[in-house]
Each structure stands twice: as C-alpha cells, then as structure tokens.
C-alpha cells in the first residue's frame, strides 16, 4: 500500500513522527548495532557523565520572524543536551553551502550562530565546510553536535515517567511552526507570529535547583507536544492524560491553525520543554519555572496515569475525550 512499502524516501520520513521513528528503527539502529539513538545520549567517560547530541538543520526560509537557521542550529543542540540535564559546553558546526548563496547571507547566519552560542554559554570548537553545486541545496544546511556534563544525581530519561507524575509545559506552544509557515508560504494572519527559538539550559538549571529528581524533560520540536508526549508514553509504558484547556495556545496560533486545519498540539516549538515531575515537587518546580523568563507562562497540562499505557488522551474543553496520536509524517493543511 502507498504508505507502507517505501522503496524511496518521502518527506514524511523526516517529519518527526511515526515514519521517522520507523526509518531509524528499521534502517539505522540495526545497521549501527541496535543502539537506541536518542536525541541526546547520556554517556560515562573517564568517570564523567556526559550528554552527547547531534542535529541537522534544513529550514526554509533561512531567516524567519524570531530567528534564523543559525541560532536554530545552536539552540537545537543546546536544548537536546539540556533535556538530559546537561549544560552544553562545546559544540561542533558542520556547514554545507550551496554554490551561489550570497556571502552576506553566510555572514549573517554565522553571526547569529556566534551570538546564540554566547547567549547559551557554549563554545563552538570544531567545524567543517563543504560546498555543493547550485540546485543541490537550499542555500545553507547546518549540523551541530554538542557535549555537556550531566550533574550528579540527575537522571532524565523518557523511561522514568511513572503514574502520578505531573506534566508541565514551559510556555505557549506552536509559535515556531506557525512562524515558519507564515513566511514560507506567504500566509498572513493579521499579526506577526514570532518563533520561540531560545536556549533552555538556564531554565533547566532553575528546575534542577529545586530538585534533581525530575523524571523526564523533552523539547517538543518536530511533531510538537503530541509527538513528545507520545514518545514518553511509549517509552515508559504509561498513559498521559491531558486537559486540553490547560494547554497554553496563543490566540494567534489557534487562529492560524484553525485557518489551516492544523492542530497546535502537533506544531513545532524551538524554545519550550515538557517536564514529567514527581507530584511532591510539582508546585515548587512550577514556581521556579515561572520565575524564569523562558518559563513565565509555564502550566500544568495533565498527569501521567496507569490507564491506557502508551497512549496520550486529552479531555476536551466541552468534556469529551480524544486520543492524541503520534503524528504520521508531516501535518498537511486541509483543503477547506
């Protein structure tokens, strides 16, 4: 059938949903010896606990309201490390340039990378540059990899979610995905929607200062909040119950999604995290998050439950329920 047997790669394989997971599970993980290939790996090396992560950035357009591919590339890896509880220390930067791209554009992206690295307190220490022929890229592709130290007593993994955990999101969702869409497709929504691209290391530090016993942190990037919650539910074999009205969705994102027939729960974020916190620490962690600029709009959106393991279920505003599934591939705007 059309979606099952794929002799060739389709866009959905990079959408961060079910098809991406299957690609890794069926092709990469077996070839690499069965490792789990998490966004960020926790490693022990010479007695130190390190977090190690890599990410590639192929965003189009290169510049968008609230950022560009450069700060996205830095913050993306910084945040993946932060989700292991690690403050990023060192980054690498791989650059693939398309023949013909203006040098001023390369300069602006590099400046943005430098500024983002300084803001996140991380040093870019190694790199590589390649050029591909005109027509073989979208101007600039970036890869960043990073390492950082995981503090003693911190163990953040999706598998650690347990029934009773309180689920907290650090702020309003959907801004990055809608911001990108508004410039990529030339859609105008009456107000400018700005990406939330930001480094989350400081916010995570503030949370860990309350208790090192956070169970799970996850940045809901591609696939949005829905994908992040589903991955955690599946990894831990728990259910997640979400109160839909408690999920902070800015009105402009809600309106844009309503026009396009998209669900904000599936829209990408670049400066938000979702946390699974033991109930006894939840109030204190929430207060610490709200005291941080990047967590000012933090909200409890639900809880981890023993029912419906592996599934995320939302209570709708009207009082009904719905399953919030793992996205398949890319979200597609509806025809009408």
């Amino acid at each position: 059938m059309p979606l099952r047997d794929h002799p060739r790669v389709v866009m959905g394989h990079g959408g961060g949903g079910l098809m991406s997971a299957e690609l890794v599970e069926n092709i990469f993980a077996p070839a690499f010896g069965g490792s789990t290939l998490a966004d960020s790996a926790a490693l022990t090396l010479g007695g130190a606990r390190l977090a190690f992560s890599t990410d590639s950035f192929v965003v189009r357009p290169l510049f968008f309201p609230g950022g560009c591919i450069g700060d996205l590339a830095v913050n993306g890896t910084v945040n993946d490390l932060a989700m292991s509880g690690a403050r990023a220390a060192y980054l690498s930067c791989g650059v693939i340039l398309e023949e013909g791209v203006e040098m001023s554009v390369v300069g602006r992206v590099a400046q943005a990378m430098g500024a983002a690295a300084r803001a996140a307190g991380v040093a870019v220490v190694t790199g590589d540059t390649k050029v591909v022929e005109a027509g073989h890229g979208d101007g600039i592709y970036l890869n960043t990899a990073g390492i950082g130290l995981i503090p003693a007593g911190v163990d953040l993994r999706p598998q650690r979610a347990v029934p009773g955990d309180v689920v907290i999101v650090s702020g309003e969702i959907g801004l990055h995905g809608v911001a990108i869409m508004s410039v990529r497709e030339g859609l105008e929504f009456g107000v400018e929607i700005v990406s939330d691209c930001a480094p989350l290391g400081g916010l995570v530090d503030a949370m860990l200062a309350v208790t090192p016993d956070l169970h799970v942190l996850r940045d809901p990037t591609r696939g949005g909040l829905a994908a992040a919650l589903n991955e955690i539910a599946a990894a831990a074999g728990v259910g997640v119950a979400v109160r839909e009205r408690a999920v902070p969705v800015p009105p402009e994102v809600a309106n844009a999604c309503a026009i396009l027939g998209l669900d904000p729960m599936y829209v990408a974020n670049e400066g938000k995290l979702v946390a699974f916190v033991p109930r006894e620490h939840a109030d204190a962690v929430l207060a610490a998050m709200r005291a941080h600029p990047l967590g000012a709009r933090a909200a409890v959106i639900g809880e981890c439950v023993a029912e419906h393991p592996g599934m995320v279920v939302a209570r709708t505003a009207l009082g009904g329920t719905r399953v919030v599934d793992l996205p398949l591939g890319e979200q597609l705007p509806r025809i009408c």
Binding site: P2, F189, A254, V300, H308, L318, G319, I335, C336
Partner: protein
C-alpha cells in the same frame, strides 16, 4: 480573526446540550453533510455528550474522500511525467491511488508541489514557461469558485502552459442520492455552512419538502454544531421539515453572487462518480466548452486507466452513512492512517481517520482526568 473562543465556550455548550436533552423524546438520526463538521464533532467529543437517542451519521462531504480513484490515478500518471509541475492542496498528497500516492511520485522524482491557493499554481506556470503546470482542482462548492477564477485568469492572461485536472462535486445531488437510497436512515441534515455561503440556500427548500426532512445550515465550531443539532431536533419533534439558517454570520440566502457567476462562466454541470458511492447524476462540475483548452484530461492522454480498489474497504458505506467507521472489519487493523485502504482513512476530514485519531479508546468515563496543579 475573531469568533473562535466564542464558539467553543463550554458553558454555552452545556446550555445547548441541556436544551437538546430537554427536547428529545425519541431517537433521531441526523447526518452532518461535511467532513469538517465530522472532524469538529469527533475532535471535541460532541457525539459523546449528546443524549443517547440522538445519533450522528457522518455524511459524504469530505472532498478528498470522494474524489474517484480513477481521477487520483490520472493525477498520479500526469504528475509522474517529465516536464510537468503538478500542484495540489496538501492533503491530496497522501490519498492512495491504485498502487501509490503523490508523495511517492515526488519521491520517485516527480515535481509535485503543495500550494495553498490555485493562484500559486498559476504563478508557477508564469515563472516556468517551458514546463506544463497542472493544478488538481477538487472539492465542493467551497473550493470550486477560486479554481474557476484561476482558469478564468489563465485564459485572460494568455497563460498556455497551465491546466487543471477537475473533479468538483456538488452537495444537493448527494443529499438527493442519500435520501432516495432504500437503506437511508437519515431524518435530518446539518447542511455545510461554507457550501451555502457560496451557493445560498435556494436549492434546499424543495429537497426538504419532497423528502420531509429538516435541513439546518450549520457552521463548523462546536457551538455551531450543537445549535444545528438543537434546531434539527426541535423541528423533528414538532414534525416540521423546513430549511433554517443557523450560520447567519456567514451565509446569506442568495449566497455569493460573484462566486456563483464565476462558477457559471467556467464550469458546467456533469454526472460525477464519487469514490465508494458511484455515479450521482448532475453531481459534478467540469470545465465548460469555452475553457476546454485548460482541461488537463484533454491536454494529457490519460485514458485507459485500470483502477484497483481495496476489496476490504467499506468507505463507500461509511460515506453514505450506512455504517460507522468502526463497524468495518478492517478498521484499526489492516486499515490505519499508516496503511489506509480507502480515502476516508487518509484525509483528516475523513470519518474513518477521525474515528481512528480520536476514538480508539473505550468509554470516556474510564478516562476521567484527576485535577492536578
């Protein structure tokens, strides 16, 4: 944009639900015509909140679902040709043809592009004079006017490398077909508000009178749906069968005259096959004689296509309201959004996809969320 939160207010919803409960004295079966309405109903759990006697039957109004397999196969054939740029709305890319979909064609090297407006396809044609640009023109009375306008513009601007693969469908003949089916259980209709915002309501009084069925023009937000149900049930309980407009903020009785004029200029009514249902007389539009040069079916030789529909898929019965999605044996097992046997499982407006996405769990009571925080 306003009018979003206002039409999702839980308190107002509760009031409407109480009105419906108070009004219902016996079972009623209502059909929401449009897939957008189905999506709202399932997405917000409205069907779970209605009194037991009120059953919602999901209608055929998903443009992606009803596009015939033969047309999808023609699209796949044209999109795979060298020199062609094939433009489509996004949700058509996943719809299975006989053996592949447009995503697969793109993966195989076809130039398939997602556009948000048919005018984008016309712009692409202008920018690529040495390529043939084809737009996939599907949908109901809602998407037909801008598509008609685009063909009109192409002719006016003398753009010769643009054509449209047209498979437009019309709602009133579908309602007629449903009501004349011997298995029909539908006692009232929630008509699709956006269709009426274009066409007005003048086609409906005769249908309502002849089939003795109330038709209430309804919008797409949760409160719109509940108000539509309330008015339909109230008519049924009183033994009335008239046309009511419960979507006055968008629908004028005469519709949109400019859009209708454009439709009349560019299209002509034709018999049209609906996927899973079959041919419904007078239920479609095709490009009229004056615009035939812009018809992709004429420009490209795509006849002689043999289609292969899944033998297991019962989407036709779902589209006619004869069964609910989960009553199909393949639902959720051999047929999922990951591996759809029919278009109703592919489109986000499709009843099967809506059931799969939102309704794979037991009773809502088992899902009570304990307040936290």
């Amino acid at each position: 944009m306003k009018y979003l939160e206002e039409f999702r207010d839980p308190e107002l919803a509760r009031g409407l639900l109480e009105d419906i409960r108070a009004a219902v004295t016996r079972p009623w079966a209502l059909m929401e015509v449009c897939g957008g309405q189905t999506h709202t109903i399932i997405r917000h759990g409205i069907d779970q909140l209605l009194p037991e006697g009120v059953e919602l039957i999901h209608g055929p109004g998903c443009p992606v679902c009803v596009t015939p397999l033969e047309v999808i196969d023609k699209a796949l054939e044209i999109a795979g040709r060298p020199g062609v740029i094939f433009c489509s709305f996004g949700d058509m890319l996943r719809v299975p043809g006989s053996d592949r979909d447009l995503f697969r064609v793109r993966g195989e090297g076809g130039d398939v592009r997602v556009v948000y407006s048919p005018l984008d396809a016309l712009r692409i044609a202008r920018e690529n004079p040495d390529r043939e640009v084809v737009f996939f023109g599907i949908g109901f009375e809602t998407t037909a006017p801008p598509n008609a306008m685009t063909v009109h513009q192409a002719r006016k601007q003398g753009i010769r490398n643009f054509s449209m693969l047209v498979s437009h469908v019309r709602v009133p003949p579908a309602i007629e077909a449903i009501m004349t089916s011997p298995d029909c259980r539908v006692q009232g209709f929630l008509a699709a508000g956006h269709v009426c915002s274009v066409m007005g309501v003048e086609e409906y009084p005769e249908l309502a009178a002849r089939h003795r069925v109330p038709i209430v023009v309804t919008g797409f937000e949760p409160l719109d749906i509940l108000e539509g149900i309330r008015r339909t049930v109230r008519q049924l309980e009183r033994g009335e069968h008239t046309v009511e407009n419960a979507y006055e903020r968008a629908v004028r009785p005469e519709g949109n005259p400019a859009a209708r004029a454009m439709l009349e200029d560019v299209f002509e009514v034709t018999d049209r096959a609906w996927r899973g249902i079959g041919v419904i007389p007078g239920s479609g539009w095709r490009l009229s004689e004056r615009y035939r040069a812009y018809d992709a079916e004429h420009r490209f030789e795509v006849s002689g296509i043999t289609t292969r529909e899944s033998a297991l898929c019962r989407s036709g019965e779902v589209l006619q309201g004869l069964i609910k999605p989960h009553e199909c044996e393949a639902f959720g097992t051999t047929c999922t959004p990951r591996n759809p046997l029919g278009a109703t499982m592919v489109s986000t407006e499709g009843a099967c996809a809506a059931y799969y996405l939102y309704r794979r769990l037991g009773t809502p009571a088992a899902l009570e969320v304990t307040p936290v925080g």
